[in-house]
């Protein structure tokens, strides 16, 4: 953040800019140091100096005089190009960055952290990668994952398609963790891929020595070289830096705000564990799409507007009405228990389906499947043309409905797509093994 108004004038009068070494004199005290950019949470009358010791302090400029000691030099960084050790014997992997940082470089002079975006930056920060693959790194955009939109999914899918067309044997996507599972399931429906597409990220930023980014990235490289040609999420399996879990993209969910092992497979176990550069399939009876099993194809047709609504005691029917009024292309409901709604909203839901808006029922329990035949409230929804999508995660049902409603306007056809297992997002049987309480 730049210095503004009063502070800006204060600095400009003495012709001082960020990076200059200055002396600030106040009654009884004097400080010398380099003027830094102002953090956005700092007090409005405060300038920030970096002292010789490396510490930053904030100085209130009331009663202060400032003088320039020396002009700041823009550091000229000329780094040698990295030897990428390109070899025919190694697989070609593309690392696509969507935001956040897989690797960072710290400028200890100013304390600034620069994300490593270019291929060379990335490889300089994580030189080990070139031993395992020919790495091609690209930043496709730079956004926080909470700002992700279906438009960005399309762009990501298209870039992946191009990379695979250009010979990539595997794709790694660096992504913020908050909405990583939405992107993963959206990509699952938009692309048929002959090669692995692995999403990864970090719960501890890559500017710290304890970051989980490197372990996750290394495991992702191994996943991208494996024969698991699905869209997957590769993140820490435990709080330890020992192995990563590989989750199917349509089955994963962020379950902890801050822990490294935040991602959990729901209604299945992780496909594989990646430890010491080895990919081990967890359960050989669980089928997965193998490398080169599918032809590459891209279908980024998405509907414009689908809503994801959670049921809760006291919910008002107008919450449903508004989507109907606004001509939404579909509604996913995160129902209670087996897939229920309160009687209060049934009329509004019936209105939605009668106006040809597909309404799809999931469960806020996350684990288990919907079954709307058990109670009368469920049966009433079924009679009103709401369908349950079984063991599909609400987030996955949301991306799938966006995609399904992007393929056709016919509600029956949309429902048919929703009820068909496309990318391992649903299953006819659920193992007793699939729950947090094993």
């Amino acid at each position: 953040m730049a210095y503004e108004e009063y502070l800006k004038d204060f600095l400009e009068i003495s012709n001082i800019t960020v990076g200059d070494t200055v002396k600030v004199t106040k009654p009884h005290i004097e400080h010398e140091g380099m003027l830094l950019e102002k953090p956005d949470y700092s007090n409005e009358n405060t300038i920030i100096l970096k002292l010789d010791s490396g510490y930053n302090i904030g100085i209130d400029i009331k009663d202060a005089k400032i003088e320039k000691i020396s002009e700041g030099k823009k550091p000229q960084i000329e780094l040698d190009p990295v030897d990428k050790k390109i070899s025919d014997k190694k697989k070609n992997l593309s690392i696509l960055s969507t935001g956040g940082t897989v690797a960072s470089v710290i400028d200890y002079k100013t304390g600034a952290v620069h994300p490593a975006f270019t291929a060379d930056d990335l490889l300089r920060a994580t030189p080990e990668l070139v031993d395992y693959a020919n790495i091609n790194a690209k930043a496709i955009f730079n956004i926080l994952s909470e700002n992700m939109t279906p438009e960005y999914w399309k762009k990501t899918a298209t870039t992946i398609y191009d990379e695979i067309n250009n010979g990539a044997d595997g794709i790694i996507i660096a992504h913020g963790t908050d909405t990583m599972h939405y992107t993963a399931s959206a990509l699952s429906f938009m692309i048929d891929s002959p090669v692995p597409i692995v999403l990864t990220g970090a719960q501890r930023s890559s500017d710290r020595p304890s970051s989980d980014a490197f372990t996750n990235l290394m495991a992702s490289v191994n996943a991208a070289k494996s024969d698991i040609a699905e869209v997957t999420i590769c993140m820490h399996g435990t709080e330890d830096d020992s192995y990563c879990d590989l989750h199917r993209g349509t089955r994963a969910r962020k379950m902890h705000t801050s822990r490294r092992d935040t991602f959990t497979s729901i209604n299945m176990n992780p496909l594989a564990r990646i430890e010491n550069n080895k990919v081990t399939i967890n359960d050989t009876q669980v089928k997965y799409t193998k490398r080169n099993e599918k032809e590459l194809s891209l279908n980024t047709n998405l509907a414009d507007k689908v809503a994801l609504i959670k049921m809760y005691p006291g919910i008002s029917p107008e919450i449903i009405d508004i989507y109907v009024d606004k001509n939404y292309d579909g509604i996913v409901i995160e129902g209670t228990g087996l897939g229920h709604c309160s009687d209060d909203v049934i009329t509004s839901i019936t209105r939605a389906t009668s106006e040809d808006i597909p309404v799809v029922m999931t469960s806020q329990c996350l684990f288990g499947r919907t079954n709307m035949n058990v109670y009368s409230s469920g049966r009433r929804l079924l009679q009103n043309n709401v369908i349950g999508v079984g063991d599909m995660l609400p987030e996955t049902a949301y991306t799938k409905l966006l995609w399904a409603a992007g393929q056709t306007d016919n509600v029956s056809e949309i429902y048919e797509i929703m009820k068909t297992n496309l990318k391992g997002e649903m299953d006819t049987t659920l193992s007793q093994n699939y729950f947090i309480k094993n």
Partner: protein, 632 residues
């Protein structure tokens, strides 16, 4: 030290102090876990790696990088409730602990420092595993202060507020094990400028700073305060001595360090005059010592892949064995550097023949290595890689001896010597801790705290000594043990109670109980007031408090204790009547011995009262009765 061993002024001695003190806030600096260590068995273990983050201009040597990677593996011992996700680096830090900030502002005010307008928490990269995050969170709270000493004012450059590191427990399968209980305990870091010039002055300053620290809420006891000493002389180098525990040892440490530097300077001059040099070649001499009688060498060779390696030090003869600190030679320094690479020691020509290595073998080696009389060699017998790496370190150190004193961090030893620890840290690698908002420290807050500063211990001691007519020792003990406030609180509730009795029970009796394993945490202020009020109200004799205090430690109420132990004082009537009986029985003795009968009668009476009468009262009554008889 009545007389200085050296002319410190001429030598240009400069010293600075750095003190780390744990603060006694209720919770930790960046999470709300208890601010205490625990000996409980760890309930969780976490395995982690650390990876140095790259500096913009830093070139990465891949081999070194990967090597460091392999070594940076750690196990952290954690608890379900004593530590939390923050220490485990699984959750962003909670906001800065305001109690710790307040304690630091008190310290800053006591040291006449200027508190910063805005406190910025920084990350200082530390990848030895002692911080789960790979950095220590630290910030500067105040600058530019001073403390007065008998040697003049000493400048206090900075007061930092930072988190303590995790506790190193040991090693497990090649991984270093740390416990998370200590990680995050608030530390005040006080740094003086290097403007002290006499060994006694650093001691005085350390003492003075200790006094200041102890007037506030800081932790006491082993490991809660850590003192580092920076020492240099004009022709020497800056040496940081870590972990000076004993203030009395400080002058000796300084003296020994000055002596070490002078010796190293002298050695370097001699080596330069001789045209000495260190050869970089490392030579395998195993086969020449294969049949040695030396047990040490035989034992080393018994290990897998072991060998004997040698290096040549041209024109070093006689200087490696030269003493540079009491009992430590230049060879000892070489050896300490070698030991960092995991070898157990080295042999050098100045000490051979010895350790079972005979003259003949030394001569053979001299021949093989083509050494002249004034040349020296160093041998290391160990596993090959270790031996090789150790000699690389020794070569580096030997080369430094040509130049003088290498800058380094050394560890203080109990005998006042120092031992090589590591090279001096390079410029601090610091960047901003973005997870913690900057902290505006309002002028009003500082003013309010500064207008209500605690008494310094020495002032407090003098005041309570005078105010309560205590002996100097009692007053000193109360202050040193941080019990003066407790004493004053009790005294406030029982103004007529004997001050000396309260003080001596607090200082001596309770200390003994603690030593004997009693749970003295039961002796709260309220409990003590109840016990002392028994004396104050004349219910029990003063001498009986110990029995009751013991019972209170065992959860028995003072009242019950009095009853159970039958401690209630006899009434004055009973005392007088009983004494009269004794006097009657011993009339003859009194007539013979007059006042000389006091002693024996006192003994008889006290035996009869079995401690349930106050000695002073008994003595007074007996005296009156004897006088009665004599005067009649």
């Amino acid at each position: 030290m009545s007389e200085d061993k050296f002319n410190y002024k001429e030598l240009g001695l400069m010293m600075g102090l750095e003190i780390h003190q744990q603060l006694d806030s209720k919770t930790k600096l960046f999470c709300r876990c208890p601010n205490s260590l625990t000996d409980k068995k760890p309930e969780r273990k976490i395995f982690r790696r650390l990876r140095p983050t790259q500096s913009e201009l830093g070139e990465i040597d891949r081999a070194a990088y990967e090597e460091s990677q392999r070594n940076l593996q750690f196990v952290y011992e954690a608890y379900n409730h004593h530590t939390c996700l923050v220490e485990a680096d699984e959750e962003p830090p909670s906001p800065l602990n305001q109690e710790a900030v307040d304690i630091s502002i008190i310290l800053a005010s006591l040291m006449n420092m200027k508190v910063v307008d805005e406190f910025h928490t920084m990350r200082k990269q530390v990848i030895d595993g002692s911080n789960t995050s790979g950095f220590q969170r630290t910030g500067i709270l105040a600058t530019d202060g001073y403390v007065e000493t008998e040697y003049g004012d000493v400048t206090i450059e900075t007061l930092g507020l930072e988190e303590d590191a995790a506790r190193r427990i040991g090693e497990e399968d090649g991984k270093i094990v740390f416990r998370l209980d200590r990680l995050g305990i608030p530390l005040a870091e006080i740094t003086t400028s290097p403007d002290m010039h006499h060994p006694l002055q650093v001691k005085a300053v350390a003492y003075q700073l200790g006094q200041i620290l102890r007037s506030t809420s800081v932790k006491r006891g082993l490991g809660t305060i850590r003192q580092d000493l920076n020492i240099s002389i004009k022709e020497g180098s800056r040496i940081e001595v870590k972990g000076v525990q004993d203030l009395d040892l400080m002058p000796t440490i300084v003296e020994n360090e000055v002596q070490r530097q002078l010796n190293l300077i002298d050695i370097s001059k001699q080596l330069q005059e001789r045209g000495a040099c260190v050869e970089e070649e490392i030579i395998d001499v195993t086969k020449y010592l294969e049949n040695t009688e030396s047990k040490v060498i035989q034992n080393s060779l018994a290990k897998e892949n072991s060998c004997i390696l040698a290096i040549k030090l041209r024109k070093f003869n006689g200087l490696i064995g030269r003493e540079i600190q009491p009992g430590k030679r230049l060879g000892t320094e070489f050896s300490e550097h070698g030991k960092k690479m995991g070898v157990s020691g080295l042999f050098h020509t100045d000490e051979l023949p010895a350790y079972g290595i005979v003259q003949e073998e030394v001569d053979t080696l001299r021949d093989i290595l083509e050494l002249d009389e004034d040349d020296a060699f160093i041998l290391v017998a160990e596993e090959k890689t270790k031996a090789h790496n150790a000699l690389l370190e020794i070569i580096k150190r030997a080369k430094q001896s040509l130049e003088g004193v290498p800058e380094e961090t050394r560890r203080a030893q109990d005998d006042g010597n120092t031992q090589y620890l590591r090279p001096l840290p390079t410029a601090s690698r610091m960047y901003v801790e973005t997870d913690i908002p900057t902290e505006i420290i309002e002028k009003e807050r500082v003013k309010k705290i500064a207008s209500n500063l605690p008494e310094l211990p020495v002032v407090k001691k003098e005041r309570i000594e005078k105010e309560y007519k205590l002996s100097e020792d009692l007053a000193k003990q109360l202050v040193q043990r941080n019990r003066a406030d407790l004493f004053e609180e009790i005294k406030k509730e029982l103004p007529s109670m004997d001050s000396v009795k309260i003080a001596s029970d607090i200082v001596y009796t309770i200390k003994d109980l603690k030593r004997d394993g009693y749970d003295i945490t039961k002796l709260t202020k309220d409990a003590l007031v109840e016990v002392f009020s028994l004396v104050d109200n004349d219910v029990i004799p003063a001498a009986e408090t110990e029995v009751i205090l013991k019972d209170v430690c065992n959860d028995i109420s003072p009242r019950d204790s009095v009853k159970n132990n039958n401690l209630e004082k006899l009434s004055d009537d009973i005392i007088v009547d009983t004494i009269k009986e004794i006097i009657e029985e011993n009339k003859n003795m009194i007539e013979q011995r007059k006042m000389g009968a006091m002693g024996p009668l006192m003994g008889k009476a006290m035996a009869k009262f079995k401690g349930k009468a106050d000695g002073q009262t008994v003595s007074n009554v007996i005296k009156d009765e004897i006088l009665n008889i004599i005067n009649n």
